[in-house]
């Protein structure tokens, strides 16, 4: 899960480490001028959602080399759990203008959804993937596809095949003015919350004992096991965190779009997976980067009137990257085996 830095001389290293931030700043600058502030903020918000989902893909792939096909549907289930908690448990119907109440509701919503989805994710791992840990590679992948179909149908059974509205707690009217256009506070909140979660994850992986266990397990499972790492526990925690983040993405999706549907997971899941591949699968920073990139591509496509082709462009990108640069933009620890 660490970025591989191949440059050796100190000047080269400095340049190498600056290459990425410079690239990002340049990219953001260009997108801002091309897209205009409204679309730019749109893309950032969508990117935050993709990035949160992509993190789950990349973490699970990093640790057990499984393309967790059901992850997109975990995100979808998260959006429904958030909807259910928000409208049924908390009794929300629409925007809340009372600031302390709003803050409290949103906080409870995030905490509960993340908790529920973390448990769901860990359960899926325990029931569907762990028994197959020593099986041929494709067996858990096929199981994951099955889990994905089951999740979709369970949700369809309970909530129906139509689009379901989700209460948008943050009032849409609240906005700030940036150089002549109004930027909704909602977007700023969504982006900030997602980025905060990503930083928390990065800190967790790099600083804590469990984070270290996750990194060693992803490098060499058997060796980590010999060093006293509880592999099953570590893998389960990876699923807990990945699914929790997908749950958070579900909350964000609901707050931002105000709706969800049972088939949300497939397309956005595939896009988030593309994001993970784009960034370098197994690389958490890469997944976040990839998420934003994909969103910019999609928003850019629709801004220029090719919105219908957005999906095709993203999937073509996925195919191209897998074929020509399977290690992604930032490189991945397992890319050499692709």
């Amino acid at each position: 899960m660490a970025t591989v830095n191949a440059t050796s001389s100190s000047a080269g290293r400095l340049l190498g480490s600056l290459r990425l931030p410079i690239g990002i700043v340049a990219f953001l600058g260009i997108s801002l001028t091309v897209l205009g502030i409204d679309q730019f903020v749109n893309a950032l918000t969508l990117g935050a959602i993709y990035a949160l989902v992509a993190l789950g893909y990349t973490m699970v792939y990093g640790i057990i080399e499984l393309i967790n096909f059901a992850h997109g549907d975990v995100f979808m289930v998260g959006s429904f759990v958030a909807m259910f908690i928000s409208s049924s448990l908390l009794g929300n119907e629409g925007a809340i203008t009372n600031i302390p109440l709003l803050a409290g509701s949103v906080l409870v919503l995030f905490a509960l959804t993340i908790g529920v989805m973390a448990i769901v994710g860990a359960l899926i791992e325990r029931l569907a993937y762990r028994p197959l840990r020593r099986a041929p590679r494709l067996a858990p992948l096929i199981t994951a596809i099955g889990v994905s179909f089951i999740l979709q149908n369970v949700i369809q059974f309970f909530f129906g095949p139509t689009i379901v509205t989700v209460p948008q707690l943050v009032p849409i009217e609240w906005s700030i003015e940036v150089s002549g256009s109004r930027v909704p506070l909602l977007n700023i909140f969504v982006i900030a919350a997602s980025v905060a979660l990503m930083f928390a994850l990065q800190l967790f992986i790099s600083r804590t004992r469990t984070g270290r266990a996750m990194r060693t397990t992803s490098m060499d499972r058997d060796a980590s096991s010999l060093m006293g790492v509880d592999i099953n526990r570590t893998i389960m925690i990876t699923f807990l965190i990945g699914s929790g983040l997908a749950g958070a993405a579900g909350v964000v999706h609901g707050l931002y779009y105000g709706n969800t549907s049972f088939n949300l997971g497939f397309q956005s899941g595939l896009k988030a997976f593309t994001a993970a591949v784009l960034g370098g699968i197994g690389n958490t920073a890469g997944a976040a980067l990839g998420g934003f990139l994909i969103a910019f591509i999609e928003v850019g496509a629709s801004a220029f009137g090719y919105g219908r082709w957005g999906g095709a462009v993203v999937f073509s990108l996925l195919v191209i990257f897998l074929v020509f640069r399977p290690t992604g933009l930032l490189g991945s620890h397992s890319g050499d085996r692709a």
């Binding site: 099986a135 590679r137 999937f315």
Partner: protein, 372 residues
């Protein structure tokens, strides 16, 4: 017990020995017998009460189309060990090939029979086009790339409305005919049934012969251990491409037949769920076992389109609350999911395992390998 079985089997021993020697003829006899027996069976209770014989024959035709699709996918997954999640794309390409060649939309009306071949060729070409750059990838990456391709094709068909009429699809596709002898119609399901039976027999014979050919053994070697196969002088890329091309051309041919049968193609008919339904049939029947896979497809199809429909009418008749509003037909997708998960967890070799695969799916003790 086994003595009784032996005693019953004894008179059939020469028959069996004969068909073991002449397998293609055996398949022909078997399919013909089955294709006569199935319609007869629908005249007997309880099957005659479910729907008319014509409706049954129609259902069998669709089931056979689905089974051919599964057999084609089995060449890619079961023989060569490559997980193809975008198989429906080739099915779609075959269907659209015929739709464009024989419908009022394009204004061209080519005869059906050569198009059958054309569908196969179009499928094979796209199979090679997709396979050539991607087959170097490791198994799970290949799965995702094929899935991406499987999504791109319907999106393209949907958006290129100038050539495909977008979401509406292409309707009014010509029915096949044998000039002067037989005109296929929507009302009479029998000619299509006959056509599908013939095609089914040919495809099954071809696949069995392929399995035992040099190419089939090459696929075995690649599936079991690609590195070892490569070091033994097998050109793995070519062999994998051939698997892709064979699978894709079968899907293309079947796509043409399917388009001619239902006389309309729309992008929505070829979504991801179609690829997964074929995968479910392969997994249920047992990867690598052609007859098993065809049987798996029949089981799944009859289950979802007959049993679930029956469940709907049953619940309606008894007026059971809550369940009344549930459309059980929607549960076909959960059926695929359950089949995939349960089979992988409990019986990964399928209900009718291919003999070689039994050992392969036994838990690996040392290292990785096998199905990649």
């Amino acid at each position: 017990m086994s003595r009784i079985v032996d005693a019953v089997n004894a008179p059939f021993a020469p028959v069996r020995a004969y068909f073991r020697k002449h397998r293609s003829f055996g398949i022909f006899v078997g399919v013909v017998l089955l294709s006569v027996a199935l319609p007869l069976l629908t005249r007997v209770p309880p099957f005659d009460g479910i729907q008319s014989t014509n409706a049954w024959v129609n259902a069998f035709t669709t089931a056979a189309i689905y089974a051919m699709l599964a057999m084609g996918l089995n060449v890619v997954i079961g023989f060569a060990g490559l997980l193809d999640l975008g198989y429906a794309a080739f099915f779609a390409l075959g269907g659209y090939t015929y739709a464009l060649a024989a419908s009022p939309f394009s204004g061209i009306h080519l005869p059906f029979w050569p198009m059958l071949l054309a569908g196969g060729i179009v499928g094979a070409i796209f199979g090679v086009l997709l396979g050539a750059p991607t087959l170097r990838l490791r198994g799970d990456y290949l799965a995702i790339v094929t899935l991406g391709f499987g999504e791109i094709v319907p999106i393209t068909l949907m958006n290129a409305d100038k050539f495909t009429d977008g979401v509406n699809g292409i309707g009014g596709i010509d029915k096949p005919s044998i000039p002067g002898i037989l005109q296929f119609t929507l009302i009479n399901p029998w000619p299509m049934y006959g056509l599908v039976v013939v095609l089914f027999t040919l495809i099954m014979i071809m696949i069995y012969r392929l399995e035992d050919s040099r190419l089939g053994r090459t696929w075995d070697a690649i599936r079991e251990d690609e590195l070892a196969a490569e070091s033994s002088g097998v050109n793995t890329v070519i062999a994998k491409l051939q698997a892709f091309a064979v699978g894709a051309s079968i899907a293309g041919i079947v796509g043409v037949v399917n388009a001619a049968k239902i006389t309309i193609v729309t992008p929505d008919q070829f979504r991801f769920a179609v690829s997964i339904s074929a995968l479910a049939a392969v997994v249920l029947g047992g990867m690598g076992n052609t007859i098993g896979v065809a049987t798996g497809a029949f089981i799944i199809y009859l289950f979802q389109s007959i049993l679930l429909k029956q469940l709907n009418t049953l619940v309606e008749n008894f007026n059971i609350p809550i369940l009344n509003q549930v459309d059980f037909l929607e549960f076909q997708y959960v059926l695929y999911g359950i089949v995939l998960v349960l089979m992988m967890l409990k019986r990964p070799q399928g209900i009718f395992p291919a003999r070689r695969r039994m050992r392969e799916f036994a838990p690996l003790k040392i290292g990785k390998g096998g199905l990649k």
